[in-house]
């Protein structure tokens, strides 16, 4: 491991021979005084603790120790936007989700659409930001065949978020009432793709909502 920084080459030294003056810099006493380095060391350690604690603490599985360590760091973690788990595509890449909406307009006609909408949501980053809405809500919504008590408990978490989605759609489209369905898109295995076989997506009703957020699932 390259333990020392190269003043010419950045923290990772290169294979290029260093000029004498730079060699002197590298091997000379440090530019910061000992007290300054001590203070900086303390700040670095606190920052690194704030970087490390959140991914240890979640998402599950996580230890109780990690939660205990995270508690005093929460103000710093929250303030510096460090509360991430970094579990990209883990533990397994799963199916994608979207939210289908059907809206009743003031003149009695209906409109429908999808969140995200690959044909209209452009540029791609806008599509992806809208895609996150359906992905994050899908994590909270159990499948339709889950036990009733599980579905009731989960609803307390996802319903306020889904009401926000409905409110936003009604504002943007000028509708009176909107019905939302969560769609889990079927993830075919290689054999199914080779055989050109398809299977139905899993649809979970989320409810019908008015401008005031009222629901009639």
């Amino acid at each position: 491991m390259d333990g020392g920084a190269d003043p010419r080459g950045g923290p990772m030294s290169s294979s290029t021979p260093m000029p004498t003056v730079m060699h002197t810099l590298r091997t000379s006493t440090h530019a910061w005084s000992a007290p300054a380095r001590a203070v900086a060391t303390l700040l670095i350690l606190v920052y690194l603790a704030a970087v490390l604690a959140p991914p240890f603490a979640g998402p599950p599985p996580a230890s109780e120790l990690a939660s205990v360590v995270l508690q005093p760091l929460r103000p710093l973690v929250g303030s510096l936007f460090l509360g991430h788990g970094y579990r990209f595509f883990a533990p397994n890449p799963g199916p994608g989700h979207s939210i289908l909406w059907t809206m009743t307009m003031p003149d009695g006609t209906t409109r429908s659409g999808r969140i995200p909408d690959e044909t209209h949501d452009w540029p791609r980053l806008l599509y992806h930001r809208r895609f996150m809405v359906s992905e994050k809500i899908s994590v909270l919504v159990p499948p339709g065949d889950a036990p009733a008590d599980v579905r009731d408990r989960a609803k307390r978490d996802w319903l306020p978020l889904v009401k926000g989605v409905a409110t936003n759609l009604l504002r943007a489209e000028g509708g009176q009432r909107v019905t939302l369905d969560l769609v889990e898109h079927y993830l075919p295995d290689p054999a199914e793709v080779i055989a050109a076989a398809t299977a139905a997506d899993l649809v979970t009703p989320l409810g019908t909502f008015g401008p005031a957020g009222g629901t009639s699932p």
Binding site: G3, D6, G10, H30, A90, H128, V133, I137, V165
Partner: protein, 327 residues
């Protein structure tokens, strides 16, 4: 038998002091050796460009992202965030105009950060704007925003506008020459923080994957290929080549798990940085997350030595080389 470092030997206290002194020396060398700020400036430009684009996209649907009748009402944000610590200036915005002003300020800061004008202030405002957006719209954020946050903190701490910047040109003009920024401890600390943070990201991303059977079976990549919500490049022909899917999956897993250790030795650094570029560009092209891929590649730029940037600059333009030469 008494080992040389046996704690029971009479010489143990002096040996321990030597061991601790070695640790202290290594720590000092790692964090407090002055470093060339050029790599930090390159990271700044890359980060500024991506952040500028991200801000422009926030502005495309600003009422939905940050408005009171948007995707998530301000009163419901606590359900997804650790309040009150996850602050946002959008919580104080009382009108659609104010939302646009705040988003526009972030965009302007991102542009200034890119060109390196009033860089410290631009970095601060850009960071505040990024965090405010992410904390106000937690339903809409993803890895891109996490990565931009990771990139901006070192840019705040270090002299990211010391070179390749308008600030530098203005300072150089005042002194009669553009010149080059001197190595500094602050530049080293900033680059080290980014390097270590990036290793933490890859470690947990890799460790999380090791909990998944599909990564061990070598089929996880298929899960990404077959997911039509992400797909921007149709790679379903890989269904006919399961061993290729296995190799790509296991190669990705090995690279990510090994990165925190093998990016540091010179012998393996280039290989791991090249794999980072390949993996992140692949995700960007095939799964439509180019901004996220580019942000992660930008973070990897912190591992590229300043000499490499100078060689690249010389090969691209003799004028660039001349303007960045040490006086």
């Amino acid at each position: 038998m008494t080992l040389p470092h046996d704690a029971t030997s009479p010489a143990s206290s002096s040996v321990d002091r030597g061991w601790l002194a070695e640790w202290a020396a290594a720590w000092n060398a790692f964090w407090f050796t002055p470093a060339d700020p050029l790599p930090l400036a390159v990271v700044r430009i890359a980060t500024g460009l991506i952040l500028t684009w991200s801000c422009a996209v926030w502005l495309l649907d600003v009422d939905a992202f940050f408005g009171t009748r948007g995707w998530l009402a301000p009163t419901e944000v606590w359900r997804m965030n650790d309040q009150p610590w996850q602050w946002s200036w959008y919580f104080a915005a009382s009108s659609p105009t104010m939302l646009r002003v705040l988003a526009g300020v972030t965009l302007a800061a991102a542009v200034l950060l890119t060109i390196g004008l009033a860089t410290p202030l631009a970095a601060l405002v850009a960071f505040v704007g990024l965090v405010s957006a992410a904390n106000r719209a937690p339903l809409n954020v993803f890895g891109l925003d996490d990565t931009l946050g990771m990139l901006l903190v070192p840019l705040l701490i270090g002299p990211s506008g010391a070179c390749l910047s308008v600030d530098r040109l203005l300072a150089g003009a005042g002194r009669g020459g553009a010149g080059e920024a001197a190595p500094s401890v602050a530049a080293n600390i900033a680059l080290r923080l980014l390097q270590v943070h990036l290793c933490v990201v890859y470690f947990f991303s890799g460790a999380g994957k090791m909990l998944g059977a599909s990564w061990w079976e070598g089929t996880a990549l298929w899960g990404a290929v077959a997911n039509d919500r992400y797909r921007t490049l149709d790679l379903r022909w890989l269904a006919h080549h399961p061993l290729v899917v296995n190799a790509l999956t296991l190669g990705t897993l090995f690279w990510e798990v090994a990165y925190p250790a093998l990016v540091w030795p010179r012998l393996t650094r280039r290989l791991f940085l090249a794999m980072a570029v390949a993996v992140h560009l692949g995700i960007g092209l095939a799964m439509g997350m180019m901004e996220f891929g580019l942000a992660m590649i930008s973070a990897n730029l912190a591992f590229v030595p300043a000499d490499a940037y100078r060689r690249l600059g010389r090969s691209l333009s003799p004028r660039v080389a001349a303007s960045s030469r040490t006086p």
